[in-house]
Symmetry: C2
């Protein structure tokens, strides 16, 4: 790898939205890699390493990664166009905006979708899920591990266990765009079939890469479709096109379907190298690099600190119980009488950028803080402290301003 | 824009394949922009400017740009999924590998495709085209402006003129992945309907952005589909999803469908700013920046120098006539008895990276040189001279080695 040299990213406001997130200097420097051929012998192992390292992050030995130029959304198309044939049934556990959108995507490719909608801030009860699975045969079940719109965390292990028990052939598809590398995921142990994500959240790289891992069971279902002669519903998202490419790069040769985002693959490689590094690989012996499991713990700790500070400031979380609140982000209702226009600019003036609401019906009533990647793993940055103090200061300023105006 | 500061890309081999191409330091530095929110007021005008500038590069006032995270291939999906309804006819002018693939893409979405195949190195005769258009009603005609596999340049103006004359309602779709900003394109004057391209060739940015411009006529055809209730064939490539996003960013507000590749948009902005800059904007008054039209001329000149040097070395071009040879790349047959394994490593040892063949039937018999963007526009780099001398030296070395071995 090229040495980092004097590169240091420009001073900027702290970006703590639920993705894109702050990224390490090493990652940005890699994104500025000189132009390279996508079939160069120097680039091939970089791509191959990304395939191998993403398996490590997800604790899987046998899943097949797909790394494709595109946003996280493209993962839905991969599922809908490769795994579901027109007219087949899909069950969507809906915990927010992204459940609605995944439904829309599945229907575009001809799936017959049943949704189980959770109340805002809640999850679907497991007996409701079991009953639905008993009621009808579903080709796939999809759920959002962390719905970025609500900050609701689903119990992936228990969902997968329920499906395997009640409807063993149903494929378990997890939208993990806002959870990979920030929430615990054990692909093989939990017996998941698809985990789809993107580069710009917990994985700590710039946006532009759709990342999907498919279990041998899922690949088998797709192969059966092919053997029946049922054409995939998409060209760009077709596994027939991409599988040979992934296999080639992993085995050390190049193949061409569409030009990969070469620079971003270098950046992704730099971030994955940090995430999967042996503790001893740290450049600073005083601060060994955390393991993947330690990273999950660091995200939990940072999350608890932020959520507890928010509670202390009188803010109410959108998730209905702590057990269903994400560890990589926090969704908070504004206090009575406070709007996004009051709070977000005041945070911005303190160089802290958070996100507004996204879920249609309550969009104006809440805001979201992302706390993933270097912001929580590298404590020397002090990002968590900065978020907490900016939030407290801003709310006090608003209170003072309102008191003044009322006089 | 952030100042370039001390950033200079690392020394590396000269990349002169037909994309990705060498890019300017400014562009790579922009690709290393600190993480930014995709809905930030600072980012919105950057995205909006890209939309405005790409119109300038293509000489269009009224076309609608779509800038989507993905490779150039995604542009085909956009055409096939939005403009062609299942069962409708598409006519493909095939001048190489990319004609085969576009056909495959159109068929995936249900189009009934007729191909007019040119001989290797040639184009489809205009009377053949006119006869085909008279014979059947086609929803779209597609052609590859420069087929990257063969280096064949199609006469876009005359193709469009022929379609308008014989079959005025047929949409003229140009795959311009390997021609935008290196070959003359006059979108409005030539009355084109779709021009699709990618970021990593003449446009001089890293790969990862699908760029498509649609005429008001093409948008009208798509709107008619929507009004008839015919759903688009793709979710990720759906204009229903993307058009509101493009309109929002251009008008100065943010909207969300899928996270844009923020860093790459900064890089694309940096490259478009150089391409569309007023000559007076050059930092060095001695070397004013060329206009877009002057860039076309610079590509023609560099191309002629390389092609004439290759001819002098006894190399035969793949395009059958000079008039159908691209100006942004050169495809050359190996001399008798010389293989890719003889020539490419020798060029590589001289820090010049070219590409092998791509067209299946003759893949082993030829190689390709890209000469686009900064490599031809910034003469101070000396890239053209470097290509020519490395090619001459390598061929002489091969000759000497073969003579020695024969002794």
């Amino acid at each position: 790898m090229t040495s980092l040299g004097p590169f240091k990213q420009a001073p900027h406001k702290l970006l703590v939205i639920p993705g894109p997130i702050e990224v390490a200097d090493e990652v940005l420097f890699a994104n500025a890699h000189p132009s390279m051929s996508h079939v160069s012998p120097d680039f091939i192992p970089v791509f191959g390493d990304c395939i191998r390292m993403i398996r490590e992050v997800l604790f899987t030995k046998g899943a097949q990664p797909f790394l494709i130029s595109g946003s996280g959304t493209l993962g839905w198309d991969q599922v809908a166009a490769n795994l579901v044939e027109p007219g087949e049934n899909a069950l969507v556990l809906n915990t927010g905006y992204f459940g609605d959108s995944f439904t829309d995507c599945l229907e575009t490719y001809g799936a017959s979708v049943t949704q189980l909608k959770a109340p805002i801030g809640g999850t679907v009860p497991f007996d409701t899920l079991a009953a639905a699975l008993q009621d009808k045969r579903y080709k796939v079940l999809t759920f959002t591990h962390v719905d970025t719109s609500t900050g609701v965390l689903s119990d992936a292990a228990r969902i997968a266990e329920t499906v395997r028990r009640v409807s063993p052939d149903t494929l378990v598809v997890m939208d993990a765009v806002c959870s990979v590398a920030s929430e615990e995921i054990k692909f093989d142990e939990w017996d998941l079939d698809v985990v789809l994500t993107a580069s710009q959240k917990g994985l700590g790289a710039p946006p532009g890469l759709s990342i999907l891992l498919a279990s041998p069971r899922a690949v088998g279902v797709w192969e059966k479709r092919k053997s029946k002669g049922v054409r995939e519903g998409s060209y760009y998202a077709s596994w027939s096109k991409w599988l040979p490419i992934m296999k080639a790069y992993e085995s050390g040769s190049a193949a061409y379907f569409a030009t990969p985002p070469v620079n971003l693959i270098y950046a992704f490689h730099a971030s994955l190298s940090l995430i999967t590094a042996k503790p001893s690989a740290s450049p600073d012996p005083e601060t060994p690099l955390p393991s993947v499991n330690e990273r999950f713990a660091l995200h939990r700790t940072a999350s608890q600190r932020i959520k507890s500070a928010a509670k202390g400031l009188g803010l109410k979380q959108l998730p209905l119980q702590d057990a269903v609140a994400a560890n990589g982000m926090t969704a908070l209702y504004f206090p009575e009488g406070v709007t996004a226009g009051d709070l977000l600019p005041r945070l911005g003036a303190k160089d802290v950028v958070v996100a507004g609401g996204l879920l249609g019906s309550i969009k104006e009533k809440y805001f979201r803080i992302g706390h993933m990647g270097v912001s929580v793993v590298d404590s020397r940055r002090g990002d968590v402290e900065k978020i907490i103090s900016a939030l407290g200061d801003s709310l006090r300023e608003i209170k003072d301003a309102k008191a003044k105006a009322a006089k």
